[in-house]
Amino acid sequence: MTLRIPALITAILERDLRLALRHGADTLGAVLFFILAGALFPLALGPSPELLRRMAPGIVWVCALLAALLPLDRLFGSELEDGSLDQLLMTGLPPSLIALAKMIAHWLTTGLPLLLAAGPLAIMLGMPTASMVVLLTGLLLGTLILSLIGGMAASVVLGARRGGVLLPLLVLPLTTPALIFGAAALDAAQTGLSWGPDLELLGAFLAAALPLCPLAAGAGLRAAVE
């Protein structure tokens, strides 16, 4: 059994990526939302380059956070509805590893595209190219954290009535530390301060979420099929 664990995790990933490609419109939805929401800010705030440059870190981070929420309620919801969750559990893979595989799939189909779209959006808002490395490093850690915490919350609300409404209320408070450190790192980079500590705190947050979130999510999955 131990030998099959990596093979099963890759099988779940392959399956989810294949489904994401087949339903391309759903997959692109989050990225398009991210770009559109980011593009609304210049319209609402006025075209002052100074103001937009000043607000760009916050805009990019908040939009990424909200965009990553969109596909979360389908992450386990579709598996529960069509009975696939039972079959996933019947593969013998521990529930926490099933959850981890689904979280990785969420990152590959949502976090990674957001990361790719973040660069162009930041340039559009006039962010200096010098702070681009800090933005992308921070978002790399941030999107991973979002997938972990989001996956955990999605499994906890699984099967609950109005789970879709509950989900953002659970995820957003839990991800505020990531938002604070990520935006602070960018702010520091723009004002010429040291941005290392902020990214290190982000990394520490990720290191704590990596083992804890799949464990909690696994318990949520077991409870959902009962």
């Binding site: 099988a11 399956r15 489904l19 087949r22 696939s84 039972d86 079959q87 019947m90 009962e226």
Partner: protein, 242 residues
């Protein structure tokens, strides 16, 4: 698709591996009790099955047949009772127990956007079985590369049954396996059941129609007495409901 030459039975059942030889008590179910909310759904259910046995669970709607299957599959934790497999507590390590079980639920659990073969990949990885052989056994090889959304209800059911074969597990737990199947496939199912029991496997199925399981034992779940069903609306005057 059924070709001009019917598949020889030996090849059809070649996907079923040999398990324990018949005659040993394999599955012992003791005093399983399950609550759903305030209601006792299963009340001290118990039976013992030997290798090669088959059991039909019958009873009215809501009697807890599906719940019992989910308990035996390790998907639902009972409030009381034990499930022993070869004398060992099966539900202590539910991930390990999953390796002994092939579970067919109400739903076919197929992803509509994936082809049949892709749908079976995960189960094949888990058991190391051959999905093509299993699809051949249920006459759906010709559909292997079609997306599941293009299949009929009966064809989807056959795909779900192919996954049961694919699990290569000694304990088959089937929730209404005949749902949507045509006469030919029912005959096929009989052949596969017989081969599985010959090999020392156990079949437990819920059903409302006769299944091709000769000399299967029957366990009738009593269900609820009408008087036991709570009547929460009784207290309200009728005008309030309208």
């Amino acid at each position: 698709m059924p070709g001009p030459h019917p598949l020889p039975i030996a090849r059809r059942i070649s996907v079923i591996p040999a398990f324990t030889p018949p005659g040993h008590p394999l599955l012992e179910v003791e005093n399983i009790s399950v609550f759903r909310g305030e209601r006792l759904v299963l009340d001290r259910v118990g039976f013992t099955l030997e290798a090669g046995d088959a059991l039909l669970l019958t009873g009215p709607n809501g009697a807890g047949k599906s719940t019992l299957l989910r308990v035996l599959a390790g998907l639902h934790k009972p409030e009381g009772g034990h499930v022993l497999w070869s004398g060992v507590d099966a539900l202590a390590d539910r991930s390990q127990h999953a390796g002994r079980v092939a579970y067919l639920g109400h739903q076919d659990a197929l992803k509509l956007g994936l082809t049949l073969r892709e749908n079976l990949t995960l189960a094949a990885r888990a058991s190391g079985g051959n999905p093509d052989l299993c699809m051949e056994s249920l006459n759906i090889s010709g559909l292997a590369d079609l997306p599941a959304r293009m299949l009929s209800a009966g064809q989807k059911r056959r795909a779900a049954l192919a996954r049961v074969l694919l699990a290569q597990a000694p304990l088959w737990l089937l929730d209404e396996p005949s749902l949507g199947l045509d006469i030919n496939t029912m005959g096929l199912l009989g052949t596969l059941f017989a081969a599985h029991r010959q090999a020392g496997g156990i079949v437990i199925a819920t059903t409302h129609v006769p299944l091709p399981l000769p000399d299967a034992r029957t366990h009738a779940l009593p269900g609820l007495n009408e008087s036991d069903i709570p009547q929460p609306l009784e207290d309200f005057p009728e005008d309030d409901l309208l």
